[in-house]
Amino acid sequence: MAANVARHVLEARDLVVRYGGVTALQRVSLRIESGEVVGLIGPNGAGKTSLLNAVSGVATLSEGSIALDGRAIGGLPVHRIARAGVVRTYQNVRLFRTLSIGENVRAGAFAARRAIGAAEIDDVLRQTALGEVDRFAQAGRLPYGAQRRLEIARALASEPAILLLDEPAAGLNPEESNGLGQLVRSIADRGVGVLLVEHDMQLVNDVCNRIAVLNFGSLIAHGTPAEIARDPAVIEAYLGTAR
């Protein structure tokens, strides 16, 4: 898979997302650059998925702006944002279950606006430690951990500038989480900017350059893993629920 050598920057400024009477995001700003892994943590209901939904276009922005390399993408339909280079995975894995593994990866290539051949599919699968699986097997039959990796493989086929990962370690054992961490690091090293939403603090601390902390829809802290671990606001927000 051709590595993304250009430098990209995603700038989200003062995002506000409201659903009915509830404000899920309160003027949240975030910046993600090529090559870095930014962690996004916070207690349940803090707004992490809302932020992901806002950036990927699933949720409507009430206020604020999102720009990729200076080009405004806030308010665009989901598929246009994906084609622009902002690609995501989902909390409950959303694979095309009755399609084959190869077809799932091929589907990702729509966002890259080109068809990809068998060699490139194999390459992406190898990157995500799926090199040994049968390309023609049904995606829904894969074990859970492999399904997660396939979803990431599909996202890589989209040639993302920015990759949004929604709790990719959920349900994985420590060994699998480790492997996932290495995968995320290698994706960033190839030039993709990664936003990692996670609960697994071990993974977050190992892999992220910076961490942003949300609570009640607002950004309460932002810094290196070491800084965040010491931050009183963060400790209070979690009340010791961090692993």
Binding site: S56, P77, A82, R97, R106, A107, F110
Partner: protein
Amino acid sequence: MIAFLAAHSKLIDQIGINALLAVSLMISLRAGQLALAQVACMGIAAYAGSVGAIAYGWNLPTSMAAGTLCAMAAAALLALPTARLRGVFLAIATIGFGEVARIVEINVPITGGAEGLANIPNDANTAWIYGTLVAALAALLAFSRGPWVLALDAVREDEVAARGCGIDVGTVRFGALVAGGAVAGLAGVLYAHANFFITPGDFGFGRMEQVLVYSVIGGTTSAVGSALGAAALTILPEAIRFLHDYREITTGALLLGFIIFAPRGLAGLWQRT
């Protein structure tokens, strides 16, 4: 053999037309859309082509082209109010469209009203019908390796994920509807020219239900399967003629059996997944 085929030529023609209809429905079902407007599009094309043939002396290819364009236009028009509908809602809306079309056909003078339209030139023979069917199947098979059908499958499997892959779901659904309308339109004109007499009742919900049954028995995501399903169910009433009063019950039981025990239909015999 030749004598057998000649004796059953009407049935063979019927099979061909029903197969085209089943294929037209399959296109929408493949995209996960329960859009039941194909028979209505069939009727619109049948009337458009027939009126042209009777009034302006169009030959069959012209009739087919004109009729199919009308069917596609109708499908495109239908796509607008149904753009946000899914599942049962979409089914009901498209059924409603069919009813409106049928009622308009009964009342508009140019169609001959409820008595129907007669004296349509009888120039659609078996060759034309099967030529069209084979062309349609070949086209679909050619597309099935490519990105368009992959997009259909992705939309069927998971619309949200499909969008996230950069697929424009709205365009895919629109395309499926219009493509299905086109194939149904071809079937409609062929039907009219093969039967030289059409009535609005030919294009009602009853026929749409039948086509749905063909597709389900054959395999809702397989073009060849759908065609085979149509063939099997067109022959069935003739084959079980000896059952007399039990024909309907047998058909219903067969349908029930398939959907409960063999939901992938005949295509399940050869489809990988």
